[in-house]
Amino acid sequence: MIEVDIQHRLGDFALDASFSTPVGVTALFGRSGSGKTSIINAIAGLLRPDRGRVSVNGAVFFDTDKGIWLPPHKRRVGYVFQDARLFPHLSVHQNLRYGGQHDEARIICLLGLQGLLERQPNRLSGGERQRVALGRALMCDPQLLLLDEPLAALDGPRKAEILPYLEALRDTAEIPIIYVSHAIAEVARLGTSLAVIRNGRVARVGPLEEVMADPASLALLGRADAGAVLTAVVQRHDSDDALTEVACAGGTVLLQGKIGQVGARLRLRVPAQDIILSTQAPAGLSALNALPVEILGITEGDGPALAVSLKAGDERLLAQISTRSARAMNLSVGSQVYAIFKVTAATPDFGQGES
Amino acid sequence: DDILVFAAASLKGPLDQIAAEAGDVVVSYGGSGTLARQISLGAPADVVILASTDWMDILETGGHVLPESRADILGNHLVVLAAKPEPLDLTVDAVLTRLDGGRLAMGFVASVPAGIYGKAALTHLGLWDRLSPHVAEVDNVRAAVALVARKEAPLAIGYASDAALVDGVFAVARFPADSHEPIRYPAAAVTAEGLAFLDRLHSPQAQEIFAAAGFQKVAPE
């Protein structure tokens, strides 16, 4: 449980951010200069806000009313900075071990740092630097992770390797994570809560599924980023075709590849713009997923498109369709239709270079 | 323990020789003013030898030396030094001609003993007012001699002992003895341990060594 309520002035810029999110990954999403870094700096203790309060899992880091101020080194946060901030006088290995040696072997292997350990940071490429910074933060066994665009400099395959590790951290160690990213796919995959930052203020905050399935998010996140997130349980693997059958609230969905163990829970992002609505059950299509859904609402979306909120079992989907289609198909609230999407569109293994 | 002697820097050379012959004696050289102040601030010297009676008076008045031990051990002559052994008349015109727009090098006329004597002598001869604009003061008499040796200054005022010791520097005029206070090197014991070495300084052998270096013997009182 992270509670943040801070006010601070930085030149012309006024930060007035207040949110509280349960344990899990809180994604901070917002435009360049909206105040994301400032907020996590305040949580880490690198920025001392003019007034307010910050507490993490019950521990009060900062409270102007009570005069509490915990210095940064007592907060046990692992912070990956937007600029890597490696210690130039230490080797990669020494950098990694600076804060501790927690889970060392695994982290080094995961981040592909084996060959770099004896290097000095100035001999690293941009992405290598960022990986070392991430490893360094993880190895200090933090009670809270602050990640400021940690994967922006990384290529798709590398991202795809690192994300499951962050998921595992979130799920097993129960370390709260605050995650700044411009990549909605990362956000959707990792986030449990989503806070949309605008001009130093929190424009919207809530459970990620809720915020993302909300038709209003089409305007808030932009057309390409909106899309609901479903929870699914792995049912079985089709070894022949390397497909994975998972059960969502709304029905069965097939994913490409062999994903997870039977019984494992997955999160599937279904981008609003990737859903095709059909009045009839599909036939002869290579897209294998067609969930029967009920239209809950049709609202104005981003620009000329319409946002269609769908009920799939007890979960929500969000589709974005053109006004012309809606007219042609004669869609209205209460209609029973099919939401068709390709297996690949729903895979959680999105990491292969999507950003 | 070694006997520690604080001595005016211009005595270095002959005094080193005497100290070496005595054994167990170390000499620390410095400017007379500095030495006197150090003694008055508790320097662990056994013997002090200065180039200035004024400073010794101050030490004596302040009770920093054994009063009965004070005695002048040496004298010197004040001379004009030049790089060429051409005799010089001590007249304004002659001096200015020799200077030829150059400088007359002297120790600080207010503080360095050779400078004090020099100013007094020039004043006595009626030369000071005309010559003082041409004077270049330095912090010790050796520096003035060095300027002449380097031919940066045509003339300097210094001691006969300097002319005797420094190659290429000649005494071209000697100031009359009555033109300045007699040049004396007063010595005194600071501690009783110093008395023996003080005696040695008055010994004929020591006086010979000094004389060979161009100093003047003083009659024992």
Partner: protein
């Protein structure tokens, strides 16, 4: 003493080395502290502190020597106290020469180090703090190594200055052969005697060689550091 290096000169050389080393070693922590304070802290009287540190540079060395004598002499306030409580006498001892050299070298050391502190990217210190390092550990493991070139530069300047210091030293501790006569005092002494030019030249060469050694060591250490940090 016939031109080369006699026992008195050798004594002066060893003494100079000892004095300069002791001066630098003892002054170093203080100089680092002062440089850090000047670079990072804001406090009333900071400018006064700054001026105080620079004083030995601005005053004629003889004046500094006198002040040392007045303060640290056996009759002086601090000197008397040191001598009665700790049994430590400075005036006219080699320890005093080291003190004089240290005092004269201090402003040079502080200035170089202060620049180093000012150049350290505070973002790296922030990063270290978030990794759980206490202020002291951050200082020791991040700030200090990054200031290392400045510290080296300061130490070398200080060492060179300590080797060359004359005015304050001779005023504070005189030039007692074997005890307080350093290379510069010995040179001064030799300069007083005509015909000792060879001795002067020998001692000058020794001084140059010593400082060259210090320079080379520091350059080597700095190059190692730069190789690592080099961006």
């Amino acid at each position: 003493m016939t031109g080369g290096l006699g026992p008195a000169e050798w004594a002066a050389i060893w003494l100079s080395l000892r004095v300069a080393l002791v001066a630098v070693i003892f002054t170093l922590p203080l100089a680092i502290w002062a440089a850090h304070v000047l670079a990072r802290k804001v406090f009333v009287g900071k400018q006064l502190f700054n001026v105080l540190i620079h004083l030995p540079l601005v005053l004629p060395p003889v004046v500094t020597g006198y002040l040392l004598l007045v303060i640290f002499g056996t009759q002086g306030a601090v000197g008397g106290w040191l001598s009665t409580t700790l049994g430590l006498t400075l005036a006219f001892r080699w320890t005093g020469a080291a003190l004089a050299a240290g005092v004269m070298a201090f402003p040079l050391m502080v200035r170089a180090m202060r620049l180093g502190f000012e150049a350290v990217d505070s973002g790296l210190e922030d990063a270290a703090a978030t990794l759980g390092a206490s202020r002291w550990r951050v200082f020791r493991t991040v700030t200090l190594p990054l200031v290392w070139p400045g510290i080296l530069a300061g130490a070398v300047l200080g060492f060179a200055k300590a080797l060359g210091e004359f005015g304050a030293t001779i005023t504070f501790v005189a030039a007692i052969p074997g005890q307080t006569q350093t290379i510069p005092s010995a040179i001064y002494g030799l300069l007083q005697v005509p015909g000792q030019e060879r001795g002067v030249v020998s001692l000058v060469v020794v001084a140059i060689v010593l400082s060259m050694g210090a320079l080379l060591v520091s350059e080597w250490l700095a190059r190692r550091a730069v190789q690592r940090v080099n961006r």
